[in-house]
């Protein structure tokens, strides 16, 4: 095996086990939570720390055991943090849309259907963007 100091191996192993535990808990959440919107919380969330711990372990290993700095892990986490909310948002939007159109097989979760916003307008998923609002791509 390697000739890295014991403490380095201990630190890296602890981080990997921590990360793997969070990934496992996230997957378990996906299995046991009641409906789609709740299940969205498990993997998108517990995974951020799960993967984060893995990446810190990777940086720590290359720096402490191999003596080189790697920066690719920073990029991985940046891209993950930028893309994860967007995919979650898209899944939620599709769910809202299918609830509204009464798609057969779309299960209404324990939270039910969201109320319309207090003013006259509806949620953006339900209609085309208006001019002068965020997302109209005209004045932006």
């Amino acid at each position: 095996m390697s000739d890295a100091p014991f403490l380095v191996e201990l630190l890296v192993s602890a981080l990997i086990v921590l990360g793997a535990s969070f990934a496992l808990i996230g997957s378990w959440g996906m299995v046991r939570l009641p409906s789609l919107m709740e299940r969205l919380h498990g993997p998108t969330k517990a995974t951020t720390l799960g993967l984060g711990a893995m990446l810190v372990a990777s940086v720590a290993w290359f720096q402490l055991a191999e003596g080189v700095w790697t920066t690719h892990e920073i990029l991985v986490s940046v891209f993950l943090f930028v893309t994860a909310p967007i995919s979650a948002n898209m899944i939620a939007k599709v769910h809202l849309h299918r609830l509204r159109t009464g798609e057969p097989g779309e299960v209404r979760g324990p939270a039910g259907t969201p109320d319309a916003p207090p003013t006259g307008a509806t949620w953006a998923t339900y209609e085309a963007p208006h001019e002068g609002t965020p997302g109209d791509f005209v004045g932006d």
Binding site: F22, G29, H41, A46, T48, T71, L75, A111, T119, A124
Partner: protein
């Protein structure tokens, strides 16, 4: 100067990303990074005509706060998944009235809500004044909304002032 760097923030980001991606700080890498940092903003200028003014130091502090919240809330969500039975779970839709008005600020706010475990931002109202958020466990939705607004939106208002 402003013609060479029409978007200094984007240039700095591109240079940093390139150096991080190549994982090396030699002359060649820095030179190519500088070329990208100058050329890409100039050629993509039509797509960002009105860019927001961002305050840098509060922005960094905000990133630190969000990272810390992600770690803390991960443990909270893990505890809910492991120990809270479904019949005791109180998922709820939250409607957050927005005080932020620029698309960039609202996007960052929604992204923050999605990244901090326990809440996912699902939609924005067509008028752009409300954000629809799903909470995994919220016994008091009004208090949850107030907490999110006080913790994140107040700071974002300062950053995008």
């Amino acid at each position: 100067m402003s013609r060479l760097f029409p978007h200094p923030g984007l240039s700095a980001l591109l240079i940093a990303m390139w150096v991080v991606m190549v994982n090396d700080v030699s002359f060649g890498t820095l030179f190519l990074a500088l070329v990208f940092g100058i050329v890409v903003p100039i050629f993509t200028a039509p797509w960002w005509p009105g860019r927001p003014h961002v305050r840098f130091i509060p922005g960094l502090a905000y990133c630190g706060l969000v990272l810390w919240d992600i770690v803390v809330a991960n443990f909270e969500v893990a505890a809910i998944i492991l120990f809270k039975p479904n019949r005791k779970l109180r998922p709820a839709w939250l409607t957050i009235p927005l005080e932020l008005d620029t698309p960039e600020a609202i996007t960052v706010f929604a992204g923050t809500i999605s990244l901090t475990p326990g809440t996912v931002s699902a939609d924005v109202s067509a008028c752009g004044k409300y954000l629809l958020v799903h909470a995994l466990h919220a016994t008091d939705p009004a208090a949850e909304v107030a907490k999110i607004k006080a913790r994140y939106e107040r700071r974002l208002k300062e950053i995008y002032a």
